[in-house]
Symmetry: C2
Subunit: 429 residues, 2 copies
């Protein structure tokens, strides 16, 4: 029976019963975490062989004879470029392979564009910001750490609603055509954080070809989950750089990925791909900044995987571990929440998150209830710029870190918390 | 006989003879390099054991149980802080242990201060630069990559002459007391690049206590060679942070070092030490920028060295390899150049360089002659801001990279080039 169809007394009985069950879990003193998109230890164990992939002095040389222990090669080893170029579907002169992590490269690129400009003759964003507030488009719900960067750099962030095909392109096209103070957009185009959706071909094409009032408008294409499939019939994403080239807009495209959730979040390599002109520009700036990334760690990746096929095969092992975790949470939600008609959620084909929408005004209360019972969630609101979810509805569930027994417990506590918050809300109306 | 004492005909005979000898080397088609301060392969071989210091999943955990493979710990592992804090003589809450390399951290700190300010309430340097040109003090000769950073960020660089005790403190004190547009100074205080000198206690104390017109004046203390002794009676450097605390100026001190020339330039760790307030400030900014440095590589360092004593013992192995290289070059100079009275050079107790001063107006010609004979040197002028040595006199010799046989050859070519350039210069006067 849907909760909304219940009478007041039925709702009160439901709340009482649910609260008793919740209190039972609360009494257990649980310490569970569904907050961050972290791989579990069993996933990290998969890469043990990489630790000794470079194990002697003789192993430290690149194919061209470069001693990877010494200084140099600011844009990454040629064989690392070859390994990872297929991940983002670019050529080897359109990619840099750097250190740990892609978030740092995004931050660094925004810092560079702020101080030095985007390299196409437009004034540095920091200079333009003297005259007018600069703005940034943020498809929501989205990734809190993206929003933190643009908040820190002083951009006014504009929420863009996201549907099952991606962000609202009508709204985006209108905004960027009219307002030259809009300098960029955050996109997680595949298995998006947190919604799990993949941008449709039409959305990619429109992003690539749309007219922008600002010549230095940039798409920050964080393709973090591009090889993180959970199913045998993965989503497909059109290549933004290819589409942008067709429209002559390739310089607006900055694409990122990393091995943070492939090998190690704490010791991975990040890749940055863009037009040849942008790569050359960023490299010219990095030459002042860097003596080169950790080339030995790049060699470890190259030797461990061999080629890109080795990477995609490896990802199947991750999927085998985390797909059952997603299923455990989704099964609990389907069983306990679906019949009540009080929430909606995504069933992603890949990535690291389930995006859960409570009834309006319940997300914070759900998080509070979970926390009191020892289950940590990403704070409600975190998926929106400034931490402000106008509906107080979205919660990002990250099911990968806990062992599956803990996850099943956490999902139960979560479902009970949703029931309690919803019933209270309906009783208060 | 000193060259200056020769008659014209003696000089002409000297030039002819020397040029014949030079041409003999030139005909050999040499390919030798004394340009960059790179460790030789034999030095890099010393750290082979570090490659397998973390070799299994079980090895990946920090002392406090942190899984170093996963996300987190933006300021470095506690045991890495413990290992490296003695290197800069600071406590563990005054240090961050980061990734590869210290140059990148210096750049990053200048970028942060440009965009966000130094954290003490002063306006960001980028904002102040709207009103007036900001300036930076550059002890010369100095490190080209330092100067490149401040050039890139738009500072007007002011040359500060350096003597055997450090930079000219009378000049520095006067400048910083009067001009609040001076925001910082580059210092390599121990075995300086390239002069090899170590700052005297008095210089350190005056830098720590001097009055500055700018509240956001910062000393970039690149202590790159603090443990790179070449002798059993090493230089001693007073601790700048300690001295600055006595004067209440600890926030002006930013100290850097790395393991680039201890373990691997391509896969080392860098450390940044400062006042607790500065560390907290930079950490608060880095939390937006970084998911943490490569913690596995930090663990490798910790496991390989054990403690700081392990580091200093390891440095003796480096000294055993490179001290003979310095001796080979210095012996050649002593034998071939000293009697001619045409140049002066440093005999450092540590570090990576010999600083060589030709007669005025000869440095470029010496580098050109060396290059023509297949010996690459750091370009003349590189040790000065904007690449402009007003005397055209200073050449930085880096003796560590080539094997000793090659180095002896290169030193011969160098000495011959100095003789030729000097004789030509005297003949033209």
């Amino acid at each position: 029976m849907e909760l909304k169809a219940m009478s007041k007394s039925e709702l009160e009985a439901f709340l009482k019963e649910t609260t008793e069950e919740y209190d039972g879990y609360k009494a257990k003193g649980l310490k569970l975490n569904m907050a961050r998109g972290k791989p579990g230890a069993d996933q990290l164990d998969l890469t043990e062989g990489m630790l000794t992939a470079v194990k002697s002095n003789a192993d430290c040389y690149a194919e061209d004879g470069t001693d990877c222990r010494n200084y140099g090669i600011v844009d990454g080893l040629p064989e690392a470029k070859k390994l990872f170029a297929p991940m983002l579907g670019v050529s080897e002169d359109e990619i840099m392979v750097l250190g740990n992590s892609s978030l740092t490269i995004m931050y660094d690129n925004i810092a560079k564009f702020t101080v030095f400009g985007t390299g196409n003759g437009a004034e540095p964003w920091g200079v333009q910001a003297r005259e007018k507030k600069l703005k940034w488009l943020c498809p929501v719900p989205g990734y809190d750490r993206h929003f933190l960067i643009t908040e820190k750099f002083g951009f006014e962030m504009i929420n863009i609603p996201t549907g099952e095909n991606g962000p609202d392109m009508d709204m985006i096209e209108k905004l960027v055509a009219e307002d030259d103070s809009i300098k960029g957009i955050w996109c997680v185009p595949m298995y998006a954080n947190p919604t799990g959706i993949t941008y449709s071909d039409e959305v990619v094409k429109r992003l690539a070809s749309m007219k922008t009032a600002a010549a230095d408008f940039r798409i920050f294409w964080d393709n973090a989950y591009c090889i993180h499939h959970l199913s045998d019939t993965p989503d497909k994403l059109l290549n933004l750089l290819d589409e942008a080239k067709k429209a002559g807009n390739e310089d607006r495209v900055l694409m990122y990925a990393s091995t943070s959730k492939v090998t190690y979040p704490g010791a991975g390599v990040a890749v940055f791909a863009s037009s040849k002109a942008n790569i050359d520009y960023v490299k010219s700036l990095m030459t002042v900044q860097s003596i080169g990334p950790d080339k030995i760690n790049q060699l470890r990746h190259v030797k461990f995987f061999g080629d890109f096929n080795g990477v995609t095969e490896h990802m199947k092992k991750h999927a085998a571990i985390i797909a059952p975790k997603f299923k455990a949470v989704l099964d609990e939600l389907e069983r306990e929440i679906a019949p009540l008609g009080i929430a909606s959620w995504t069933k992603p084909n890949g990535g690291y998150f389930i995006s859960f929408n409570t009834m309006q005004g319940c997300a914070k209360e759900v998080c509070r209830l979970c926390k009191e019972a020892g289950v940590v969630l990403t704070g409600a609101g975190a998926t929106f710029p400034y931490g402000k979810d106008p509906e107080d509805s979205n919660i990002r569930i990250a099911p990968t870190l806990p062992p599956i027994e803990e996850l099943e417990l956490a999902a139960k506590v979560f479902a009970l918390s949703v029931k309690i918050a919803s019933a209270k809300k309906l009783l208060a109306e």
